[in-house]
Symmetry: C2
Subunit: 338 residues, 2 copies
């Protein structure tokens, strides 16, 4: 498989700027890696071809597969799964199921990507719940928080599985040797936490992973651990809070600059610096977040994904397939059941 081209199906209709960003991102990716990548745009064919014509690209490693329907941001995932078999998301996953594609990327309805992928591709043996991890900037490097909303009311074994999946992902995709795993809690001591963390702590201690114990909210941005495992409820709150920090700062800068011309001048001097410094917070550059635990490859992007973000997602998908992340997860899980 290593030398063959990796075939990435792009849900061309999912996302706020679809299909424009999707088509342009797909073109960028196909152009940059003609020898290793095949990109398949899935969606309303006439519309996609109009956008392709605009781009002027003629690429032999880029093709279009028609899908008449679209899963919208407002759709309820389970409902859409029943009623929208002709959606771009579903048809793109059919390609993967039928071995006509190796991976999916989508910037559409996150819940739908999770539901459709789980139901279409199934789960990796030994995984009870697929999960979504998200990459945070930190002092040292980057930190993955996992789960960020796929499963609320987790059981302890879910957290153990997240740790395994996060560890493999950070190891093979982000090249971190023996990733440090932290359990998100309210104090460093083993005795601090809730019912879920007490039980999960015991499982993680005996997991063979590089478990460093409990970490706290402040450790996420410090980079104390490479992988921070938590219940999807907590992780989702944490993700959305972190994403909003930049908005708050921008807003405060605006308020400050409106006070006087002198204030405006100081902000003008400060703003480019701040912008440069905090670009680490730009989640889209990480190329989407992986849906881990499904028997296939699905990469989920921000609804607002730019063409650059789409390109990076496609590259991330290729990498995830090439590095056989799933079989590595499976291998670790097998040792637990011996």
């Amino acid at each position: 498989m290593q030398s063959e081209k990796i075939r990435v199906a792009v849900d061309a209709m999912g996302g706020d700027n679809a299909p424009d960003s999707q088509v342009r991102g797909a073109v960028l990716a196909a152009e940059e890696r003609p020898g290793s990548l095949e990109v398949i745009l899935v969606g309303r064919k006439a519309l996609i071809e109009k956008h392709l014509a605009k781009s002027g690209a003629e690429l032999s490693n880029l093709s279009v597969v028609n899908a008449d329907d679209v899963v919208t941001m407002e759709d309820t995932p389970s409902e859409a799964f029943k009623t929208k078999p002709e959606s771009s998301l579903n048809i793109a996953l059919n390609l993967q199921k039928d071995k006509k594609a190796d991976a999916l990327i989508s910037a559409g309805n996150t819940g739908a990507v999770l539901t459709f992928s789980t139901l279409k591709l199934g789960r990796i043996e030994g995984i009870s719940r697929p999960t979504i991890g998200s990459i945070f900037p930190s002092w040292k490097d980057i930190t993955m928080v996992i789960d960020v909303g796929a499963t609320v009311d987790c059981r302890p074994n879910n957290l153990l599985e997240y740790a395994v999946m996060g560890s493999v992902y950070m190891n093979y995709i982000h090249n971190i040797d023996n990733p440090r795993i932290g359990l998100l809690s309210i104090g460093e001591e083993k005795s601090k936490g809730n019912e879920l963390t007490f039980e999960a702590y015991k499982l993680l201690e005996n997991s063979g992973l590089n478990f460093i114990g409990n970490v706290e909210g402040r450790d996420i941005l410090k980079g104390t651990a490479n992988v921070v495992v938590c219940d999807g409820f907590v992780g989702n709150v944490v993700l959305k809070l972190a994403e909003s920090v930049l908005d708050l700062l921008k807003n405060k800068f605006r308020q400050f600059s409106e006070k006087s011309l002198w204030h405006k001048f100081r902000v003008a001097l400060a703003y480019p610096t701040l912008k440069k410094i905090v670009q680490d917070f730009n989640y889209e550059e990480f190329g989407g977040v992986p849906l881990l635990g499904v028997n296939g490859v699905s990469i989920i992007g921000h609804g607002k994904s730019t063409p650059l973000a789409i390109k990076n997602m496609i590259f991330k998908a290729e990498e995830t397939v090439r590095k056989q992340v799933n079989s590595k997860i499976k291998k670790i899980l097998e040792t637990y059941n011996k």
Copy 2:
């Protein structure tokens, strides 16, 4: 009571800079409000008097009560409660119990202040769990997140009680009419959340409070709600994450400035502006956070509290007593049991 002086007992030995910050903060408060405040420093008398002598203050509304022992940051609260009856925290609470003081402020071990206060003062009728709320900066104004760690694994009625206490506190102490109450969850829709939020939602809907429904992580800094209620596990993670944002920014500024002289120059220009803008994030200026639900007044401060922070905590304590926050909480709770 309105015209009488309010007597605030200061745990002079609790906190990283104790008793220096405590003594200086107490002097500031007593000097500024000679007609309305009586400040009682509780701790090692000889040591405190040495610090008082250094300050040169001679104030008739400032006194010292001796306590030989100290609860440290490392002490386990329940253990310390049994073994340290002579601690400054315990003796300060005895004053309140014996009606010789109206309130306590402490920048010491938060868990110990919670445990000692609950056991010494008891709970307000109708409150099952005392709670700690914390004030966050936001786009518009400020937001209280409640609970931030007093109780993990909450039950739905705990969240209802937090909403009542937070509403009264924001109304009377922060002068917000009919505070908007939000339930922290993973989506705005009623159908998004976990088992706890589904049940709590029903209670809040029928509470008579100004309940605006679910809010998300991003809403905390946006100020969508004035009071955000959540389980203490989630609230604690959120608080510590938010507190760490400034550290990350400072760290990134430092890294950036170390690149070259030109970078250093730009940071020098940017830093004061940024500092001014983000001073809202300075939690200490809010004058500590209230421990709500106990039958008395306890204000908890950061371990690192400065004299200014201590002064503000003393003022906050006075205000909480004068405005009879507890009896207002009790009154709302009574309507639920009719």
